[in-house]
């Protein structure tokens, strides 16, 4: 039932905002990526065999305790000892065979961790305390652009993720698409993924990375090639000009206050690089690495008091008047 509901949800979700739908997929058992699908087969097979082994041990244990519960003690006798030796040896041989098979299976399945085929889409994924910086690397330098916490990929195409830890170790894990891979400072890693179905897949940092390890999530949005092309075209553009007085005031405040020291809004004077690129922040489904759905209200709440919402994160509280706060959040929400 749940699965069917989620399936139905998947197509609706492409258009609908995230919170409208019941599920964020973040499960190694609910799989839509090429390698996650083959990993799930392996998981089920190994779990099934192991469950059987456990049942056999349990049966042997119960039988052993049951058969002689009231009898008198007897001393060991060579015939029985010999039969037991044969039984134990047989069980050990069976163990060797099972784990030998598992080893070979797992060696073969290791290949599934790398998706085969051509790739022409490469994304640099940078892990930072506690958000994900993304840089789309295209065939030519002009097609590069930056964003954060929300990865769009075309369905059915292999995507290469270059993983870099910039401060401490993080781990990139979107279980519905692929197994995890660490982002290790000083040692770049790679992960290839391919989504077999369109959908929104949630992921979360899997290596403890400090205070807000729990709130370092990301979304992978797999969409048809046309939608993906539209999205990248939008992302390459500079930020939308303020359309009304309030958003214009918002931009002014953003530039006048410390905000611009850490954030970039392409097309404006804000070129900070410590925090996420906000050029199209209004277009992203969530803010603060998956903590809230992006709305004017959530933006205002976040800017007003980031340390209560996500204690320990690197965004300071910038004192703003209510008018300034309204203007900045309206401006950021307008950056579609």
């Amino acid at each position: 039932m749940i699965r069917a509901a989620r399936k139905a949800c998947s197509s609706a979700m492409l258009a609908a905002p995230l919170a409208g739908c019941g599920g964020n997929w973040q499960s190694a058992l609910d799989v839509y990526g090429t390698s996650a699908i083959s990993l799930k087969h392996l998981i089920i097979l190994i779990v099934a065999v192991c469950s059987l082994v456990w049942m056999l041990v349990l049966i042997a244990l119960i039988a052993a305790l049951w058969r002689s519960r009231d009898a008198r003690p007897v001393s060991p006798e060579p015939g029985r000892e010999r039969r037991m030796t044969i039984a134990v040896t047989g069980a050990v041989v069976a163990t060797v065979l099972i784990i030998g098979t598992f080893t070979v299976m797992s060696f073969v399945a290791t290949r599934a961790l790398t998706v085969a085929g051509q790739d022409d889409l490469t994304i640099r994924v940078r892990g930072l305390q506690w958000w994900w910086g993304l840089e789309y690397i295209g065939p030519d330098p002009s097609s590069r652009f930056e964003t954060a916490n929300e990865i769009h990929i075309p369905v059915g195409r292999k995507v290469r993720l270059k993983l870099e830890g910039l401060d401490v170790i993080h781990s990139f894990w979107v279980p519905s698409l692929a197994g995890k891979q660490d982002l290790v400072p000083g040692r770049p890693n790679e992960l290839t993924i391919r989504a077999e179905h369109a959908g929104i897949y949630r992921g979360q940092c899997a290596e403890f990375c400090g205070m807000q390890h729990a709130h370092m999530s990301l979304l992978v949005i797999a969409e048809p090639q046309d939608d993906f092309d539209k999205w990248t075209a939008t992302q390459r553009q500079t930020a939308a000009q303020p359309a009304d007085e309030q958003t214009a005031a918002g931009l002014q405040t953003f530039l006048a206050k410390p905000c611009a020291a850490c954030h970039t809004i392409r097309g404006t004077a804000a070129v900070g690089t410590t925090g996420p690129d906000l050029t199209h922040v209004g277009n992203r489904r969530t803010i603060a690495a998956g903590l809230f759905e992006t709305t004017r209200g959530s933006l205002a709440a976040w800017i007003a008091d980031p340390q209560t919402i996500k204690p320990g994160n690197n965004m300071p509280m910038v004192p703003l008047t209510p008018d300034e706060l309204r203007a900045v959040s309206a401006y950021l929400a307008s950056l579609k």
Binding site: A19, N24, Q26, A28, L39, L42, I43, C50, W54, A60, L61, A63, A64, L65, R67, R69, A71, R72, P73, V74, S75, P76, R80, E81, M84, A87, V88, V92, V96, I99, F102, T103, S106, F107, A109, T110, L113, Q129, V168, S171, W173, P175, G179, K180, Q181, D182, V184, P185, R187, R202, Q204, C205, F208, C209, G210, M211, H213, A214, P311, G312
Partner: protein
């Protein structure tokens, strides 16, 4: 060894039985009063202290676990903030591994190994006293820091750069690293004592193939400690150097390597698991005999499995790093070696099943814990096979699946046997029996509570819940199972409470125990309950693997030891033929002074590198006092 020239020697053959025990009691006594308690080198008194302290740390660690379960019962709960929560899970892990699990196993051996091999005291008894004080100081350091909101918050394996100077500000990570130093000193000391005790102080006739399996397990464990600890000494020392004096072992910007930390830590950290687990399986192999009412099946197989596990333990560490980005072919080698651990584990399980099959089980609480151990440990072992597979691991690494796995291995595989061992050896330690009714109740509560608490975590992990998160968002589908887990933890807690009540009640009001209440075959049951300060009036001579069963009319004894000074028999390594009479050190306060001096130096060095210079002076003074010839008998021999 030269006979003492001055006083006439008094030998045990020269005196009557009553005079003999009086003379031995006088020679081996621990004087009453505070000074006597601080200066004692009796392995039984120190072993009891060690065990008691370790169980206090178990209870404290359990309180932390309960706090985490309350926090995780609801999404976005605000009971604990991220800072406190991160300290709590780090404390829980570090406390349970370094202050409970490893020390408690060594502590049981400090008490039992000398009795089981039939000697009068552990080798290097003053070092033993020293190791306890150092252990106590390390535990106090960690918990006092936590009480002052300075508890480590970087996880029990303290990965760099998070624990390095740039991201682990304050003194929290230093406290973690220095607590490691304390526990590694104490663990190394005990390991050396146990190796020498087991190799050189066995009762005459206790050849290698007559050593009880628990003692074998402790021998292998001690070698694991001796070989694994240097890696963590290196790791924690270089971390402190990075933090205190600005070296760059782990700083990639200056040519250091963050993965070096993981290699060094896990080269120690994986054997650490077997340092906890091997004593536990040794306990099972030893305890199963009186409760199956037959010798354990496959003694040679059981011992070889222990040794094989000990060797394999050093070839598995990379399976903690399968997603760190090492070459895949190398990873696959470690898959094979990790899976291979299933072979010695399997051998032991099949041998125990065979023992129970052919035996006549007596369903007392120790056997219940053994049965609970087999059922849960097999699950933990099988999930271990799962995470040994690289592709499987990429989905469950650092998730609640792994949390479930290692609690099945550590609680199911080590704590269940340990609780069984407490019920089993309690009469020997205290002279009183534990309540069987309470024992059975606590077993069932712990068994049911444990499985209901930890089994669902496998599913949570596969559903994508990472470990070490202080909360989760309400729209994630984890809250139902998390609530179930937290409620089940209440049952588990109740079981442990009942266990502690049983221990405290039985220690005061329990039924008086016989010398050998379980009709067990090993030497510790050949003396009184509790044993006298000298353990055995005459050192027994062993003719079989089950001396107490095979010589029902009383064991033959070796004579000729002096009664007017502390002496024990040294025997050959393989065949345990008597070699010499060896003096055993008397009580001394100097180990305590040495421990205090070392403690000051180590804690001071968290704050200043000069502590190592100035702090070494009092430590040197204490050591000189410790080893100064005082004309005592052991100095003369």
């Amino acid at each position: 060894m030269k006979p003492s020239a001055a006083a006439p020697e008094q030998r045990d053959i020269d005196v009557e039985r009553a005079q003999l025990t009086d003379a031995l009691a006088e020679t081996w006594k621990t004087p009453s009063g505070l000074w006597g308690a601080l200066a004692t080198v009796d392995h039984k008194i120190i072993g009891r202290r060690y065990i008691f302290t370790a169980f206090v740390f178990l209870a404290l660690g359990g309180v932390l676990a309960a706090l985490m379960r309350i926090q995780l019962a609801q999404p976005e709960a605000r009971l604990l903030g991220p800072d406190r929560y991160n300290q709590i899970f780090t404390m829980h892990g570090a406390n349970m591994m370094f202050l409970f699990a490893v020390p408690v196993m060594e502590a049981v051996a400090v008490y039992l190994a000398p009795l089981m091999v039939g000697t009068r005291n552990i080798a290097f008894p003053r070092l033993n006293a020293f190791s306890y004080w150092i252990y106590l100081a390390g535990g106090a350091l960690l918990w006092i820091a936590f009480a002052l909101d300075m508890g480590p918050d970087v996880g029990w394996f303290a990965y760099v750069p998070l624990s390095g100077p740039q991201y682990g500000t304050g003194k929290r990570a230093d406290i973690w690293a220095q607590m490691i130093t304390f526990t590694e000193i104490s663990a190394l000391a005990v390991a050396v004592e146990l190796v020498v005790t087991i190799f050189k102080q066995r009762a005459p006739g206790m050849t290698l193939d007559r050593i009880p399996v628990f003692v074998w397990a402790m021998l292998v464990t001690s070698f694991l400690v001796i070989m694994a600890m240097p890696a963590i000494v290196l790791a924690s020392t270089s971390l402190i150097l990075d933090r205190l004096v600005g070296t760059h072992f782990y700083n990639p910007a200056e040519g250091g390597d963050v993965l070096l930390w993981q290699h060094l830590f896990w080269f120690f950290g994986h054997p650490e698991v077997y340092i906890i687990f091997l004593p536990a399986v040794g306990m099972v192999s030893t305890m199963i005999e009186p409760f199956a009412r037959r010798p354990a099946f496959g003694y040679l197989g059981l011992v070889m499995a222990l040794i094989a596990t000990g060797i394999l333990a050093f070839g598995l560490w990379v399976h903690h790093m399968f997603v760190a980005g090492l070459p895949r072919l190398g990873d696959s080698f470690f898959t094979a070696s990790s899976m291979a651990i299933a072979i010695p584990a399997g051998i032991q399980i099949f041998c125990w099943l065979a023992t129970l099959w052919d035996g006549r089980p007596v369903f007392k609480s120790p056997l219940l814990f053994i049965i609970g151990f087999i059922i849960t440990f097999v699950i933990g072992g099988l999930t271990g096979v799962m995470v040994a597979s690289v592709p499987f691991d990429t989905q469950v690494h650092d998730t609640y699946f792994v949390v479930a796995h290692f609690h099945y291995v550590l609680i199911g595989g080590a704590v269940f046997p340990l609780l069984g061992a407490v019920h089993y050896w309690f009469p020997k330690l205290t002279g009183r029996m534990m309540s069987e009714a309470l024992g059975q109740w606590s077993f069932w509560l712990i068994f049911v509570g444990f499985n209901a608490t930890f089994f669902p975590m496998h599913i949570l992990g596969l559903e994508g819940m990472p470990r070490r998160i202080y909360t989760y968002q309400p729209d994630l589908p984890w809250h139902g199972l998390n609530l179930f887990v937290s409620v089940s933890a209440v049952i588990l807690t109740a079981g442990f409470l009942l266990f502690f009540i049983n221990v405290m009640r039985s220690a005061r009001f329990g039924e008086i125990a016989l010398d050998n209440p379980w009709d067990a075959p090993t030497l510790e049951w050949a003396t009184t309950s509790p044993p006298p300060s000298y353990n055995f009036a005459m050192i027994p001579v062993v003719g079989s693997l089950h001396p107490v069963w095979d010589d029902r009319d009383g064991l033959p004894v070796a004579d000729g030891l002096r009664t007017d000074r502390r002496e024990l028999i040294v025997t050959t390594l393989a065949t345990a033929e008597p070699q010499a009479r060896e003096a055993s050190p008397q009580n001394s306060i100097w180990p305590l002074w040495a421990a205090i001096a070392t403690t000051i130096m180590l804690i001071w060095s968290i704050f200043s590198p000069w502590a190592v210079v100035w702090g070494s002076i009092p430590a040197a003074v204490a050591l000189i006092g410790w080893f100064w010839p005082k004309g005592t008998p052991e100095d003369e021999s």
